[in-house]
């Protein structure tokens, strides 16, 4: 039995319904259409989304970080700090700024677990917590630059990268800063991803 079949056999019904990443063509085109996969993820509200088409593509500022609900290391502090960033960015989050946290332990973190995590931390609308197929998440981790160059350290989930990556595909500008940095500094840096006004 291959790993994916094993997972779906033991998982909750939602996981069995998750499509494997075999129909991951992007429908939208843009600077990163060929760079990012278009794998399917599920939000903490149980909604299915496509990574590139729905989460990345377009003129919007997007943030990504990786966590897992049972992390006793940097995740609680990281999430709390990003909650402060969300507050600072105000009403723009959900309008033209979108935050995303992706679980490093998709087998443990089902949407319901992520929803509980969201409520526990006071995460507001405009910030999605996401789970999906393990292999897809590994690809996303690599593409978003959350990898340790040393394979031994990279496999150790407790050493996972505590950065927050942000960018805007329409101007193909990407940066990152420590997720535990001063939230005002993070918010300021996020706003540097803004595309100039039309006609400028």
């Amino acid at each position: 039995m291959d790993r994916r079949t094993l997972l779906t056999a033991h998982a909750a019904p939602f996981a069995a319904a998750l499509r494997a990443s075999d129909d991951n063509k992007t429908h939208a085109t843009g600077a990163r259409a060929n760079y990012f996969p278009n794998c399917e993820l599920v939000t903490h509200e149980g909604k299915r989304v496509r990574f590139y088409d729905d989460l990345v593509h377009g003129n919007k500022i997007v943030l990504f970080n990786f966590m897992y609900a049972q992390c006793a290391g940097i995740c609680p502090g990281m999430t709390a700090n990003l909650v402060r960033v969300q507050k600072l960015l105000g009403a723009r989050v959900g309008r033209d700024i979108f935050m995303h946290s992706i679980t490093l332990k998709p087998e443990e973190d089902k949407p319901a677990d992520l929803k509980m995590y969201v409520e526990m931390h006071g995460v507001k609308a405009g910030w999605l917590f996401l789970t999906g197929a393990r292999d897809d998440i590994e690809v996303l981790r690599r593409k978003l630059g959350f990898r340790d160059p040393n394979p031994t350290f990279d496999k150790d989930v407790s050493q996972h990268i505590g950065l927050v990556r942000f960018g805007n595909e329409s101007i193909d500008r990407w940066a990152a800063c420590p997720a535990l940095a001063n939230p005002e500094q993070i918010a300021r840096s996020v706003l540097w991803m803004q595309a100039p006004n039309a006609g400028a």
Partner: protein, 571 residues
């Protein structure tokens, strides 16, 4: 002949490289330069036609997902940037206070003591650049006044200047690089409002007046600087903006190092000058299939290119006369370390470290550079027959941005520049390399009022210094103007090498790992190559100006992921 360095923990030795299948063919020993045809090994593509001796190219990068189109080495000519001409006036005039159209800044410190005698204008702008004629197209590049490297500024001690730097970059920009800039004169003894503090960036349409006073630190002639460079320093985007091309040379002269090999002043050194004083910036680049520059914005460790440019041209040639030359060698990053040798086994005469003249010249087999380090060398071509070529080759293997491999061998050499000895000099070589260059200033430990410890490390992918993350609004050290301190700088990370740069003042190394520094490091420096677990103690003074400065890793990718601290000089 292979030469192993002490393993620094990066863990990549030759055996690992062979196991990983990265070596394309068996090792070749260089016997006759003319007889063995070269091959282009690894993933590089393209081949070198005969005459390049037994060089073979292996792309040692562990991430070879992007590879540049093929380019034949040694078909381009070395460009030497022109010298920036001073202007009779600036409009609006340069004043102590910020001018109309200028980005906000505090008043220039000590303006009336250092009224500018020279005025310059630089325009940071975007243009197309041909790194190599065989690339499928030109690359979109950012430089100054339409060239990259930008024009060379030649300055003299005692002649203060204002350099007005306009941001003419396009507002609508797609891809790496951000069109808001702030320029740092690396190595400059410059007040904070002109130093290029990373958070002082400004948008297209504005300019900034940099007051470069060209004054000796503490008025001490032993503190005279020689080779500086100016480059963008915009917070979080330094690697991207400098990689796009925002860099240029700045040379400082005094009565001793006087830019005149025929100087009749008896205290002048008469080092090679004019056409024989050549700055070289080494930058490794990566190109996509259309010939545009490629940069990985998702990399936090360091970016390596697979093409080696010198002054903006890939593997150029330089015709030289049979006499001495002064080459000012600069590693322009973004992340690579170099160790240069001459292919004929000839020594270099090293005369500076970080652009500051050494007490005495040193005859060295190789020149090692980490990002932003500068070393001036004299190469004497007089013993070489006309029609002979000598290659400047890099022998340091690097597989990723963490740091150089421990392995360095002649058979892995990458030739980056070819000197073609093609003529006798028109007049006989009057230049000299005296036995005494410039004595070091005293490192008077009795002046030390404090010892500070700085430990650079990494936590979950976040760079920290003393366990804290960079915040440009937070002062991590306040030092008192007019005092000296000992700074103990440690690399706590087990796997990364960091070139650590301190702004504003040159320091002297007291110890490296507990022992006195080597002859090459008995110098005034501002970039420290720090390998895993190393500890360096330096003596540093804080003179002449107050304000905010930074210390940071100059692997520009680490710098952009916040491997930096802010320190302030207070009255």
């Amino acid at each position: 002949m292979s030469k192993k360095r002490k393993n620094d923990g990066t863990g990549v030795g030759r055996r690992d490289i062979i196991k990983a299948g990265l070596v394309a063919g068996s090792a070749l020993v260089i016997t006759s330069k003319k007889s063995v045809a070269a091959q282009w090994g690894g993933g590089g593509g393209g081949s070198w036609s005969g005459g390049w001796g037994s060089y073979h190219y292996t792309d040692y990068r562990s991430d070879r997902s992007v590879q540049s189109p093929p380019t034949t080495p040694f078909v381009e000519s070395l460009l030497i940037p022109p010298v920036l001409q001073s202007l009779s006036s600036l409009s609006p005039p340069a004043t102590e206070l910020q001018a109309p159209g200028e980005t906000p800044r505090p008043a220039h410190q000590r303006w009336s003591e250092f009224l500018p005698q020279k005025l310059y204008a630089l325009h940071a702008n975007e243009f197309q650049w041909s790194f190599h004629r065989e690339l499928p197209g030109t690359a979109t590049v950012w430089g100054y006044n339409g060239i990259s490297p930008g024009p060379t500024i030649k300055a003299k001690y005692g002649e203060p200047s204002v350099v007005r730097i306009f941001n003419d970059l396009p507002v609508s920009h797609v891809g790496f690089g951000i069109p808001s800039i702030i320029t740092h004169l690396h190595n400059g003894h410059t007040a904070t409002e002109s130093d290029g503090f990373p958070a002082d960036f400004y948008a297209t349409g504005l300019f900034k007046d940099h007051h470069y006073v060209n004054t000796l630190a503490g008025g001490d002639t032993h503190e005279a600087l020689g080779m500086l460079w100016y480059h963008d320093h915009r917070v979080d985007f330094t690697s991207q903006n400098v990689y796009r091309g925002l860099a240029g040379f700045y040379l400082l002269f005094d009565s001793v190092d006087s830019d005149n090999e025929n100087d009749t002043n008896p205290s002048a050194l008469r080092l090679p000058s004019g056409a024989y004083d050549v700055p070289l910036i080494f930058t490794d680049k990566l190109f996509d299939s259309s010939g545009q520059l490629n940069f990985d914005q998702f990399n936090n460790d360091g970016f390596l290119g697979d093409r080696f440019a010198v002054n903006g041209k890939i593997q150029p040639t330089f015709k030289v006369a049979r006499r001495k030359y002064r080459f000012r060698m600069l590693d322009g990053g973004p992340s690579r370390f170099y160790e240069f040798y001459l292919s004929n086994g000839q020594n270099f005469t090293q005369i500076s470290n970080d652009g500051n003249l050494l007490p005495a010249p040193l005859s060295v087999q190789s020149v090692r550079l980490s990002v932003a380090e500068r070393k001036d060398v004299i190469i004497d071509f007089s013993g070489i027959p006309i029609g002979t070529s000598v290659y400047l080759e890099n022998r340091l293997v690097q597989t990723d941005g963490q740091g150089p491999s421990s392995y360095s061998s002649q058979t892995d050499a990458m030739p980056v520049l070819r000197f073609d000895v093609d003529r006798d000099p028109p007049v006989s070589d009057a230049s000299r390399v005296p036995a005494t260059l410039r004595a070091l200033p005293s490192a008077n430990l009795a002046e030390v009022v404090a010892t500070r410890y700085w430990t650079f490390d990494q936590q979950n992918g976040q760079w920290v210094v003393n366990n804290r993350l960079f915040d440009y609004n937070r002062v991590d050290a306040q030092v008192k103007k007019g005092t000296a301190e000992k700074w103990v700088i440690r690399n706590g990370s087990r796997r990364w090498s960091h070139p650590i740069h301190i702004h504003f003042e040159e320091y002297q190394i007291l110890t490296r790992n507990g022992v006195a520094p080597s002859a090459q490091e008995r110098a005034r420096k501002d970039v420290l190559e720090l390998h895993p677990n190393e500890e360096v103690v330096v003596f540093i003074r804080f003179r002449d100006f107050t304000g905010r400065f930074v210390m940071h890793c100059h692997n520009t990718v680490h710098e952009d992921h916040a491997m930096m601290v802010r320190w302030d000089i207070v009255p």
